[in-house]
């Protein structure tokens, strides 16, 4: 069965996925960046898209809901604007704090894996031979070269550091993120208010717009 499916794939030239992979391989810098990226890169990509597309989505959803439900007072529309500013502030503030904390945790975990990873792996491998031997030992202890050791340590460091960062952020979210995001939101709300006033006037008065 497997052989058949592989043959079928090979006959089907240039699927969307293969084109995507081909595009990546044509740009060596992109390839290296993607292959070496950690949760930090994921956070940056995710949040930057959230900060740009998210608010527009919020407003569009607000409009759609008021249209479908025939809402007359436009309450949903208004709320969606509040949410749009909020989404932006959360994406910006969460990224700045999240990236710093993730960076620190990953750097620490990678250093630990480099120095003590082999020993810890050996100990775990002895205690849980059937489980850990295949997972940890291959990664950190059975090293044939420095290259393998360093790349494995950095790969383990990325994942362990990312997991530790999640735990750390359960605390820092309350202490740092929340007040920081509120500060951004306060300023963003003021900016939006000013823009809103500037843009509203010509829209309300159509005659004056035409004269201009």
């Amino acid at each position: 069965m497997k052989v058949n499916s592989v043959n079928k794939q090979q006959n089907f030239k240039g699927s969307f996925g293969e084109k995507t992979v081909g595009f990546i391989t044509k740009h060596p810098a992109l390839l290296a960046t993607l292959a070496g990226s950690s949760v930090i890169a994921q956070k940056v990509v995710m949040s930057s898209s959230e900060a740009t597309i998210g608010p527009a989505m919020d407003i569009a959803i607000g409009k759609t809901i008021s249209k479908i439900t025939n809402e007359k007072d436009g309450r949903t529309k208004q709320s969606s604007k509040v949410q749009a500013v909020r989404t932006f502030s959360q994406a910006v503030g969460g990224t700045i704090v999240g990236v710093i904390i993730r960076g620190i945790c990953i750097a620490g975990a990678t250093a630990l894996c480099m120095k003590a990873g082999g020993k810890i792996g050996e100990e775990l491998g002895k205690k849980f031979p059937d489980k850990f031997a295949s997972i940890v030992n291959n990664g950190l202890t059975k090293k044939s070269s420095d290259y393998e050791k360093i790349s494995n340590a950095s790969a383990w460091g990325k994942n362990i550091g990312g997991a530790v960062a999640l735990m750390v952020m359960l605390v820092t979210n309350f202490l740092i993120d929340a007040p920081f995001i509120n500060l951004i939101n306060k300023n963003a709300t003021k900016v939006v208010k000013n823009i809103g006033v500037k843009f509203k006037k010509p829209q309300e008065d159509k005659n004056s717009k035409e004269v201009k």
């Binding site: 969307f16 060596p28 993607l34 995710m46 990325k158 993120d177 929340a178 709300t189």
Partner: protein, 247 residues
Amino acid sequence: MAQDIQKTTNGIWKLLEACTPNAEKAGNALLYLNAIGMLFAAASNTTATAIDKNTRPEDKKFLIPAGVATGVANIGIYFLMTRKIIKYLEKSALSYVDKMKDNELVAKATDFAKRAVKKAEKGIFKKPELAVSMKKDFFNGADINGTITEAAKNAYKNNVKAAASVAGAFAGAVIGCSILTPIIRDVSAYFVQKRMEKNNPELKNKPHKPYYDPTRVGTGIYNRKQPLSMTSFMTFTNKNLNGNMKI
């Protein structure tokens, strides 16, 4: 009971194996870590609603299940969708690498190996030992201008697979975070409001307050015992310190 523990530990092992730094599974680790982060954020937001003193118990009865349902739908759809995308791209990378002609592979792998060595030799994060080791591993006779080894070819292939799976994880994260989450959050908030209005008919007749009044940004607006409107619900979930859980 013993069986349950066995099942749970087996599940943890599977999760750990999925996160193991392995070239083909690089995107999986990102997916799992992100899903766990989203789970934590949703759980803390719901807990914040549950322990908040300003929310009436009648409102809580509806808000907590609504928060749980939103979180489950959001994370579930994100997880399943992203896993599909990652698997598809991994498969594509595998067939792409298999189809590659030998001279093309050699050219690309040589370029890859040279870049990797140069990156390790220079820059802020330089690792001289790594560069020496890579030269030994990747080039015959440790000569950077010479021919490459099988190890270099394999490393390049693994890199392509890893890059494809990470690209899948990124695509899933972007779609999930900037399209799926707003839809699920906003639509569920709308239903929360409708439910509140049904229980408290006086809400419908309340005059609407401007949404970007800077005075409303202050903390004072939470000293309320009145029923929730959608605006105040959204401001509550977001303005309340815990609503900012964004891991």
